[in-house]
């Protein structure tokens, strides 16, 4: 191949690659996700949800290549290069973390590949940096925090203590909360990323005179905070987004999380046939309850399958409009894409309960109806 064709004309290359792959009637999907190290639980759930849907479709013409990004941005970029250059995939998906998505998504969409996000939804990709090849099946990052603010507002809280780690997703989270919450903020606290001891923040909460606490502390940080909070004797109600109360980590938090209200676009008790079938088949296949992340992986695969019904990946424009139509039944209920290819969906408030020996969530109300995101207006495409 001559240098000229190898160069910037990546669109051409991908068209050639797509043609050659349709010749053997195959769709090749590249999944880059976190399967080792600290955050592996989330990636494993996305992968299992995704593969369950592929398996249920009984299509043998879809090949999924799965690689582990170790939660490192440079590894993710390298894997994306591998997927595009050597595996010659048609569609990419799988990334869990916003910072990894920011490293990978702009370059793969610029090279003409489709990217379906099963978890991360950083605001630049929803606003000015949106792209017709990028579809977010999970949520824009602000979504669950908007719902947290709306819930605090509807419960009549007047003075809320808000807290998040000191990094971009943390600032976004607190701004997302404040967008729909109109009362006073007792204190706005940024903690260290990866912090494990929250004694000093809890002391500040106790002294603040707040009537509620909103916090965004994903993963192990949330576990530590909740365990310490429940032992501190502070009784101010706590609200958070679903990430700290998900099926995978609730068992590690234990009784400390009981009764906590959290916002989510999905829960296993959403009473639709699709969702109930998903929950029982996931349980049967993997012998554990599905998490939020598993539901998002499942939805992502079903979106892809629905688009493949009407268009071929080799027809880029046709395939994109087939994706945009979102002609599938999401396990979360109503689902459609906004103008920036991010979900418009309902967001619920859940409460942590104990069913038998297992800690899990139950929906207690709907907070937002057909909620989009505030960045769509900045997206020109």
């Amino acid at each position: 191949m001559k240098l000229g064709t190898l160069a910037l004309k990546s669109a051409l290359i991908s068209a050639v690659a797509a043609l050659s792959s349709t010749a053997i009637a195959d769709t090749k999907v590249g999944m880059i996700t976190t399967l080792s190290g600290g955050g592996a639980g989330l990636g494993i759930d996305v992968r299992d949800g995704f593969m369950l849907a592929i398996k249920q479709s009984e299509r043998s013409d879809i090949e999924v290549v799965i690689e582990d990004d170790q939660r490192k941005p440079d590894i993710a970029v390298q894997l994306a290069d591998k997927m595009v250059q050597s595996e010659k995939v048609d569609v990419l998906t799988g990334i869990i973390w916003s910072n990894l998505a920011m490293a990978v998504v702009p370059s793969v969409t610029a090279q003409g590949k489709i990217y379906l996000s099963p978890n991360a939804g950083p605001s630049p990709l929803a606003g000015a940096g949106c792209h017709p090849n990028y579809f977010n099946v999970a949520w824009q990052n602000d979504s669950l925090h908007n719902a947290g603010g709306a819930y605090a507002q509807s419960e009549g809280y007047k003075n809320v203590f808000i807290m998040a780690p000191n990094y971009p997703a943390g600032t976004d989270a607190l701004n997302g909360f404040k967008a729909l919450y109109k009362g006073d903020v007792a204190s706005e606290v940024y903690t260290k990323l990866g912090q494990t001891d929250y004694a000093s923040e809890i002391a500040q909460i106790r002294a603040s005179g707040a009537d509620a606490v909103y916090f965004f502390l994903p993963g192990g940080m949330g576990i530590s905070f909740l365990k310490q909070y429940s032992g501190s004797g502070v009784n101010i109600p706590v609200i958070g987004p679903a990430f700290s109360f998900d099926q995978g980590i609730l068992q590690a938090v234990g009784a400390a999380a009981l009764g906590v209200r959290n916002t989510s676009q999905w829960n296993k008790d959403i009473d639709t046939p699709t969702n109930q079938a998903f929950v029982s088949s996931f349980l049967a296949e993997y012998e554990r309850l599905p998490s939020l992340y598993a539901s998002q992986g499942f939805d992502t695969a079903n979106l892809l399958l629905s688009a493949l019904e009407t268009a071929s990946v080799s027809d880029n424009a046709g395939f994109r409009s087939a994706l945009k139509a979102a002609n599938f039944i999401s396990v979360r209920g109503d689902f459609k894409f906004g103008s920036n290819n991010h979900p418009i969906h309902d967001v619920y408030i859940r409460e942590v309960v104990k069913e038998g020996d297992v800690f899990t969530n139950k929906i207690i109300g709907k907070v937002l109806n057909d909620h989009g995101d505030p960045y769509a207006k900045d997206c020109k495409m």
């Binding site: 080792s36 440079d74 390298q78 971009p168 600032t171 990323l193």
Partner: protein, 327 residues
Amino acid sequence: MIREHQLNKIILSIFLIIPLWAFVTDEPFTITLMTRATVFALAAVGLNIALGLGGLVSLGHAVFFGIGGYSMGILACHAQTYTPLMEWPMLVSGSKSMPLIWINAVIMSALAALLIGILSLRTSGVYFIMITLAFGQMFFFFSISWSAYGGEDGLSIYIRNEFPGLNTLVPIQYYALCLALLCTVLWINSRLINSPFGLALNAARQVPERVETVGLNPMRLKLAAFIISGAVTGLAGALFADLNRFVSPTMFSWQTSGEIMVFVIIGGVGRLFGPVVGALMFVALEHWLGGLSDFWHIYLGILLLGIVLFGRGGLIGMICGEARQHE
């Protein structure tokens, strides 16, 4: 036993043959992997100047790697959005030109090395290891919360920067550029070892008192080595950022410092080509073992342990035997 300079030629030819073969058979990803190895090798060559020549065990070289990376990220990000870098005291705009970015990366990391070196060289031994680690952590936490340049999310640069006369987006062309830089630095390094400065530094590492009696200041020699070392690693950082078209605080993390050190030790401390072999091995293992198992870190750990416990002088030492004082 193979002589060391013969082995070096074999290693260099590997860096030529594999990418050419990959180019002919149209396997661009192999070229990307080789570029990664080349850039890591350059970073490790930098550390090896401090470690092998100056005897300075720095567990904070990620600082320079990261500064190089952010030099590229910040300049390119301003060029990409057409916003000036600063308006006062004079107007400075961003840039997409690689040579300019490299010069900037080298100067910035040399300055950082000067500052860190002056403070850290007051200590020695384990304290030196730990204080360099502490500087690394300072930069790491700072970059995470530096929201102007993306904080923990990092900075994405959509199109690779430009080099006059080349299309840097073509894997083989960017690879050639990185390899040329690596060879240049290796050549300078080999001259450095046998220069009066290199010999004095070698003596300062072994018997500092003797150097002092001939009127040289061992502290200054070590500081100079540390600055050169930081500058080379900084250059590698800028290349790494351009390879990925992305920079993030991960480049500052202590694991990055650890990995750069691993490259040097696997290959052979103080050997001219030690870091090169080490980086090549590491990238090969990462690619090959990573494909075998989710738990590949276990195998990597066992392998590293084996090299430390049973292999004297790293891979080059195993093949060529003990180093001779002068070659």
